[in-house]
């Protein structure tokens, strides 16, 4: 009796499928797409039809084509471009500042136990204090202009990044650090070659959480005392009962959030090819 032999080498090449297999793969891909986006598409279709036929109140939920038309007019006509730009500027500045402060501070705090222990109670206290509750304080201190808006977003985005970075550094496997020690690695080398790379996945969790928070806070900040920005447009359109315009601004905000997250996920995939990415 003979047995077939198998190729056990890693990364063996996969043969290109012939036509029939290609078709089968196409069908399989389509079914994956259906499973993932089917419900969403169904919901949108229901909205469109329901609103057109008056099953749901079309003044509150205008048909999707009107919303898309309002979005198109706003963007292509340029009316919303200024708002998008100022919103991006506010959240972008705040996010960049939070990253610029949060990651280095987190790396430092995670390394040095005494610093972390001294600052942790303050951190926990501020983390539990809603940034929105502090917004009036920031307005008192910084005025009603751009600074207080950027600052409240910065404040809210700082903590997820900071805490995730501290957590990442603290959770680095001590055994890996000990291994590096046996080769005579200095503290600086261990930090650069072991602690930093090991913390990257955790830092990304913080970054993604912060990016979402930045957009949430952006809306809140823009709803109070702003005269520009997507958050302002949502409120303004609602006051003036321009419901399609209101949904257009909401749609744009959702798209901003999705693209920010997609950008971070792409970056994460590039930096963490070694980790199993299941999300």
């Amino acid at each position: 009796m003979t047995f077939q032999t198998i190729d056990t080498s890693l990364g063996g090449s996969v043969e290109a499928p012939p036509g029939a297999a290609l078709l089968r793969r196409g069908v399989a891909a389509a079914s994956v797409v259906t499973r993932r986006y089917g419900l969403l598409v169904g919901f949108l279709v229901f909205w469109q039809i329901g609103s057109s036929f008056g099953w749901i109140n079309p003044t509150v939920f205008p048909p999707l084509d009107k919303i898309l038309a309002a979005t198109w007019t706003g963007v292509a006509g340029g009316a919303l471009l200024d708002d998008i730009a100022i919103s991006l500027q506010r959240s972008g500045l705040a996010f960049a500042a939070a990253v610029g402060l949060g990651i280095p501070l987190g790396l430092f705090m995670g390394q040095i136990r005494a610093v972390e222990q001294a600052l942790d109670p303050i951190l926990q206290f501020f983390r539990q204090t809603s940034a929105l509750a502090l917004y009036p304080v920031f307005i008192l201190l910084l005025g009603l202009g751009e600074t207080s808006k950027v600052f409240v977003i910065f404040w809210a985005t700082l903590f997820p990044i900071l805490l995730a970075t501290i957590g990442g550094v603290k959770e680095v496997d001590r055994k890996l650090i000990e291994m590096a020690t046996t080769f005579g690695a200095s503290r600086a080398t261990i930090f650069r070659r072991v602690v930093l790379p090991a913390s990257v996945p955790s830092i990304f969790v913080g970054l993604r959480l912060s990016a979402t928070t930045a957009l949430l806070l952006l809306i809140a900040a823009e709803m109070i005392g702003a005269n520009k920005g997507l958050g302002f447009q949502v409120m303004n359109a609602q006051y003036n009962f321009q419901i399609p315009q209101m949904f257009a601004a909401i749609l744009l905000l959702a798209l901003l959030g999705l693209s920010a997250n997609a950008a971070l996920v792409t970056l994460q995939r590039r930096l963490c090819r070694w980790a199993d990415l299941s999300h």
């Binding site: 055994k175 000990e178 070694w274």
Partner: protein
């Protein structure tokens, strides 16, 4: 012996080593006045029940723990802390998950200041030695337990230590892989001509690999026992003398 021998590289002398820990507030002495000469190029196995201090002894040798009293001399010089002449292989491979096999094997050299190119050239030599040339670009999560441990062994060898310290290196592997890896270790020890100190709980592994076996009792009541393994190499596990030695060693632990 009064004859003065020329000092071979990788000679280890333990002088009156004592070490105790505090366990639940109670002091627990694991090493008491242990003195031992390990010859350069010798393979010494340390066996004993859990908690007998065999891993502690190895960690003291590695410089990862300081003894309470006594000293460790290497080639006649007292040492403190880790040193370039020693490399340790742990029970877990301790690979960096973000580096490929090549990256992990060259890690030790890069830490010691070699350029990436020098480090990788030398690392490739040891990757071939442990038989992993085809998976050079794989990441640790793609490797089996045995392959990962080979990476750890190659990484330790790259720095060309005089003394290789192994802390139950095959303890987590399945029985078949373990046998293969024991043969690998025997070959590597022969080819690299290093002093090997192997902590293991596997008596057969100790007899298969070592020139001498240090049997450490649980507690510090009775003194440790040193057994010479005078068997020709390569060793044959089913050969009568091997079996007899294994029986004798097992009897030391009350096993039959």
């Amino acid at each position: 012996m009064s004859v003065v021998q020329t000092t071979r590289r990788g000679e280890v002398t333990l002088r009156d080593l004592s070490k105790s820990f505090r366990l639940n507030g109670q002091p627990l002495q694991v090493l008491r006045n242990l003195s031992l000469d390990i010859r350069g190029g010798e393979a010494l196995a340390i066996v004993g029940p859990s908690g007998c201090g065999k891993t502690t002894l190895l960690r003291v040798l590695a410089g990862l723990e300081a003894p309470d009293r006594g000293e460790v001399l290497i080639d006649g010089h007292p040492v403190e802390g880790v040193g370039t002449e020693r490399a340790i292989i742990f029970q877990e491979p301790r690979l960096l998950p973000w580096l490929t096999v090549l990256g992990n094997v060259s890690f030790g050299l890069q830490v010691r200041g070699y350029t990436a190119i020098e480090a990788e050239t030398r690392a490739r030599h040891y990757i071939r030695l442990v038989g992993l040339a085809d998976v050079e670009t794989a990441y640790p999560r793609q490797l089996s337990g045995g392959m990962a441990q080979r990476v750890g062994i190659a990484r330790a060898l790259t720095v060309q230590p005089e003394i290789l310290l192994l802390d139950e290196p095959l303890g987590a592997l399945d029985a078949m892989t373990k046998l293969t890896m024991q043969e690998e270790l025997a070959r590597i020890w022969r080819e690299e001509k290093v002093t090997m100190v192997l902590v293991t709980h596997d008596l057969e592994e100790a007899i298969y690999l070592a020139d001498r076996v240090l049997v450490m009792p649980k507690g510090t009541g009775s003194p440790p026992l040193l057994i010479d393994i005078d068997l020709p190499r390569p060793r044959e596990r089913n050969e009568a003398q091997f079996v007899a030695l294994r029986r004798r060693l097992m009897a030391q632990f009350g096993l039959h």
